[in-house]
């Protein structure tokens, strides 16, 4: 947690020499607390104070980045417990796990399918972030071979999982030069794992059955020179994982407890049952995990989870929007209809995808409704006849079409009279309520 001006003042020379261009050390301290000046402006701060101040400026939850081949997954740097307080910043990475006792073709097949998976949600391309490879065999050769097999099938960042440091090392050698996460150091193995993490510039996962033990380990590991740490409180049910993740996040943010100020990793895949795995993963996404390891890769599970992650990590202050304008869909001609909608991303894409999928040409008029859905904008007075007419003029719609025909969303049928007044030479039609029914409406009624 950031220090107050007074706390910073106590660490300054307190001589009021003015060389920093402030009248007093206290004035300088206040500016520092507000992050409006650099500490280096004072030539007289002691090394000790510098270190203490740098420490306090560090984020309460460390940002950890995994990298491979130009792909990155970041976790940490969060500042709130509830998304309405500000926003959540770094979407937890979704990783799909394979094990080295599986046959190599099966591994490659699973990884390739997940690696190639990409799905669109409101114009955002969603994909799996990386893969976890677990040493289930305990054999260094088998682990190394499995890691290589995975690496052949994907370029994305990896998490390597092994109990034994020797086995882990074999895996790490197979992907030299990357910045993976290696999991998991425990109270017996932490020294060897910390050594490996340093040598290979890997982030280090730490697992222990109590917060006290995790804190002890992270302190020792930090002392040994590894700062990119990821923690696992080793609980695998919805109840204790909710409690411990909440406690860890609170300790980091409210108590400024550095030893637990690291991203967490969750293993819903350990559930061994896809229906439970999905609930555990949903909780991990909403309740503070930085990395989520799944065993099941199936579109019907991964797609909703990724959509959920988008929802939870949307900035609550600004809904995802598209730019207002006139969007041609399927090469419309001047005789094709104009469909009016709002610039809320979900709304725009529900309509655009439906029309696009039908192959029918149309002009989509996206009005500036301040990023609100049709009914929300209507209720808030941001999607009315006046605004629609204004958009028609602003985007030069009359110049693009010869048949002046505009279709309103069915939910705002009440607007049609007013719109006829606003646009006297236009034909105003009311479309269906839901976008799914647009294609058949366009075929039959237009």
């Amino acid at each position: 947690m950031a220090l107050s001006g007074i706390q910073i003042y106590k660490m300054l020379p307190q001589t009021n020499c003015k060389e920093c261009s402030f009248p007093t050390c206290l004035a300088f301290a206040m500016k520092l607390a507000a992050k409006q000046v650099e500490l280096s402006a004072c030539p007289y701060v002691t090394e000790e104070s510098k270190a203490a101040l740098a420490e306090s400026a560090a984020p309460p939850i460390r940002l950890v980045t995994l990298k491979a081949n130009g792909n990155e997954v970041k976790a940490g740097n969060e500042v709130v417990l509830f998304r309405h307080e500000k926003t959540f910043y770094h979407k937890p990475g979704l990783f799909i796990r394979v094990r080295d006792d599986q046959n190599e073709d099966a591994i490659k097949q699973k990884v390739a399918a997940a690696d190639g998976y990409q799905v669109e949600y409101v114009g955002i391309d969603l994909f799996v972030d990386g893969f976890a490879v677990e040493a289930a065999s305990g054999d260094p050769g088998a682990f190394s071979a499995a890691v290589s097999a995975v690496r052949e099938a994907t370029h994305r960042p990896l998490i390597l999982i092994a109990q034994d440091a020797g086995v882990m090392e074999a895996g790490l050698r197979a992907i030299d030069g990357e910045h993976p996460l290696i999991y998991g150091a425990n109270s017996d193995t932490w020294q060897a794992f910390a050594e490996l993490a340093k040598q290979h510039e890997a982030a280090l996962g730490v697992a222990a059955p109590s917060l006290e033990e995790i804190a002890d380990l992270t302190e020792k590991i930090k002392e040994a020179g590894v700062e990119d740490i990821v923690i696992d409180p080793m609980v695998r049910d919805l109840n204790t994982s909710l409690i411990l993740s909440t406690q860890i996040r609170r300790l980091a943010l409210k108590s400024n407890f550095r030893a637990l100020g690291y991203p967490m990793i969750a293993f819903p895949g350990d559930a061994d049952d896809p229906s439970r795995e999905s609930s555990l993963a949903a909780q991990a996404i909403a309740k503070y995990a930085g990395f989520v390891v799944l065993d099941t890769f199936s579109p019907e599970l991964v797609y909703p989870l990724m959509v959920m992650r988008e929802n939870i990590y949307t900035d609550p202050q600004k809904p995802i929007q598209v730019t207002p304008g006139l969007y041609p869909i399927n090469d419309p001609k001047p005789t094709d209809p104009v469909l009016a909608t709002t610039n809320f991303s979900i709304t725009y894409f529900s309509v655009a995808n439906e029309v696009e999928g039908s192959g029918l040409p149309a002009w989509l008029l996206v009005t500036d409704a301040e990023g609100m859905s049709v009914l929300t904008a209507w209720a808030a007075g941001k999607f009315d006849a006046e605004r629609i007419a204004k958009a028609v003029k602003e985007f030069g719609v009359a110049e693009k079409v010869s048949q002046k025909r505009i279709i309103l969303p069915g939910h705002v049928a009440v607007l049609s009279g007013e719109l006829e007044e606003e646009l006297p030479d236009w034909e105003v039609r009311v479309g269906p309520r839901e976008a799914v029914d647009l294609p058949s409406f366009m075929k039959q009624a237009l």
């Binding site: 509830f82 998304r83 309405h84 998976y117 990409q118 799905v119 669109e120 949600y121 917060l211 006290e212 804190a215 002890d216 302190e219 049910d237 919805l238 109840n239 204790t240 909710l242 409690i243 909440t246 406690q247 609170r250 300790l251 409210k254 108590s255 407890f257 030893a259 637990l260 229906s275 439970r276 999905s278 609930s279 949903a282 909780q283 909403a286 309740k287 199936s298 579109p299 019907e300 599970l301 991964v302 797609y303 909703p304 989870l305 959509v307 959920m308 988008e310 929802n311 939870i312 949307t314 609550p316 979900i346 529900s350 999928g357 859905s373 209720a379 976008a435 799914v436």
Partner: protein, 324 residues
Amino acid sequence: MPVEIPKDKWAGTVKTITLGATSDQGGTRARTVTVGGESTLPFLHFEAPTPHRPVIALEIRDRRPDDWSPLLLETWSEVADDPARWAAAAEEAGADLIELMISPTGADGNPTTPQAAVDAVKAVLGATGLPLIVFGPGQADLDNELLVPVAEATKGERLVLGICEDKNYRTIVAAALANDHLVNARTPMDVNLAKQLNILITDMGLPLDRIIMDPTTGALGYGMEYGYSVMERLRLAALQGDAMTQLPMLVTPGFEAWKTKESKVGEGVPDTWGVWLDRAINWETLTAVSLIEAGADILVLRHPESLRRVCSAIDELMAVPEMA
């Protein structure tokens, strides 16, 4: 290293509310359902016990719905033609209570009559011993027209009457007051509107322990995050001591999730959406599980498999670990 766990001490407690009434309480239910009573955020057993588990209602209709996903109609098959059999099947599937939603029109296309609504409610009460939530079609005038006679015909049952919103709360609250029922107070995802409606309702004399608060929700991918955050804020306000937010919350993830294209449509959608039935169930389940952790006390679902999954998630969340 010693770790001092930060514990929140809250001033407020959510009201404890009982739905349904047994014969010695003036109703006919075989059992009642009690929700609420929380004095900390959901399932943080290390701070305070969770006195009552969140409960699940299954939504049924007075007749086979025209606009439901074919997956749901297949699952309920012919019982969807008969609200009594549907209610019994929902009880069999493990529901804690039933939500009966009256359709605006009958199967013949004519508007639903008050008598038909009363008959449907009575048939459902006869077919199940579970407490009942009755929702009108969701149009204020029609809701009034149908719910008042339903309330009168079921005096003493402690039904939950909905939707009770700013447009029609006077009528619905009066009907609840006169006939010993509860109301489901719905507002569109806004903390202040929710408080305001609760104030208006209590001003009419309905005590707080007969109001369920419905902050409205959206489906996963279609506005769920707004509902999620409004629920977190309402529950925080309740715990901080704001009496007009200290009510159990009801949400309808089944209605919302099954309205989305992802659940409703199986053909002509991207392959990357995966297997239709599993996708639809995940849509409903993940919406519900997220909302439980945001403070939902009553969840209305539609698919029995979602009910099974959400129920086992609740079992897991309710288990008090040793550490607490």
